[in-house]
């Protein structure tokens, strides 16, 4: 037997901490750390509700496993975006990333017109 208020309070605290991390950090990798805390608060909520409701299909636990996998994919993609950002602006500081497109001198080398738009949507995620 365990009181259900404890896990739920931890979920709320972790979500608040993650939000603080995403909003207060300038370094883009540290923003990612805040996002990981947010993801983990969701995972803890799923496990808690699964233990409380005793779903016969174990949906909370299985969805947590899926969530961990999705988080792994997300971090891999985020690492690529961070590296691209670093290569273009020379730092991993979000305040330096003031332009969405690739504004470097690569522009004249017969770049397809939609390449900038693609980068916009990727970095905007």
């Amino acid at each position: 037997m365990i009181h259900a208020a404890g896990p739920l309070l931890l979920v709320a605290i972790l979500a608040g901490l993650g939000t603080y991390g995403v909003l207060a950090r300038r370094n883009v990798v540290m923003v990612l750390v805040g996002a990981e805390l947010l993801i983990n608060s969701v995972a803890l909520l799923l496990v808690t509700v699964d233990a409380a409701t005793r779903d016969p299909l174990l949906s909370g636990q299985v969805l947590t496993l899926f969530l961990i996998t999705v988080a792994a994919a997300e971090v891999g993609l985020a690492l690529a975006v961070v590296l691209l950002l670093f290569r273009h602006s020379g730092s991993s500081d979000l305040d330096d990333a003031t332009s969405l497109g690739e504004t470097s001198n690569l522009g004249e080398t017969s770049r397809p017109a939609d390449a900038d738009a693609d980068t916009d949507t990727r970095t905007g995620r």
Partner: protein, 177 residues
């Protein structure tokens, strides 16, 4: 208050404290390592809640792989690791924005806590959880995962492949087009 309660509260205090240090630490590597502590104690929380397999996967994938990727990102972007270098790029925003972020974070904590604790008194929930160890064991989870959840499970492999190809396309996009 049972022994499980005490164990969970200890783990929760550890997780919340190390999470706070992870988002407020002034050094990037310290923040990443505090994240390891948070994720590890969360795995302990899953164990207390009876989700054994989830706890082990959390340790394997999160602590083992994701934190390594975060450290890789720090290494490759030449983040300020020491105490003195690159002081022109602090890793946090200035004080006004930090205060605003703290207000928003506290607001989210309060809102979520209020909503979730209210939901406890609603129908279908009880204020105590009767932890059943055998629900989270590998036999039961494997059975359900590969019988009922097998389609989304296989879809995840496609997602991982797509993410890998996407990461490759994003990181190589600048040079050779």
């Amino acid at each position: 208050m049972t022994a499980l309660d005490a164990l969970f509260i200890a783990l929760a205090v550890l997780a919340a404290g190390s999470g706070l240090l992870a988002v407020t630490s002034r050094q990037v590597v310290h923040a990443a390592l505090w994240l390891v502590v948070t994720l590890g104690t969360l795995a302990g929380c899953y164990l207390v809640l009876g989700a054994e397999v989830v706890a082990l996967v959390q340790l394997l994938v999160y602590v083992g792989a994701i934190v390594v990727l975060v450290l890789f990102a720090l290494m490759l972007t030449r983040a300020p690791i020491g105490t003195g270098d690159r002081s022109d790029h602090p890793i946090s925003h200035g004080l006004p924005q930090r205060i605003g972020a703290a207000v928003v974070g506290l607001g989210i904590t309060g809102l979520l806590a209020a909503v979730l604790l209210r939901a406890l008194s609603g129908p279908g929930f009880s204020t105590t959880i009767d932890v059943q160890r055998e629900r989270g064991g590998s036999g039961r989870v494997g059975e359900v995962l590969f019988a009922w959840w097998v389609l989304p499970f296989e879809l995840l492999s496609v997602l991982l492949l797509a993410a890998l190809v996407g990461a490759l396309a994003v990181s190589r996009g600048g040079d050779d087009r």
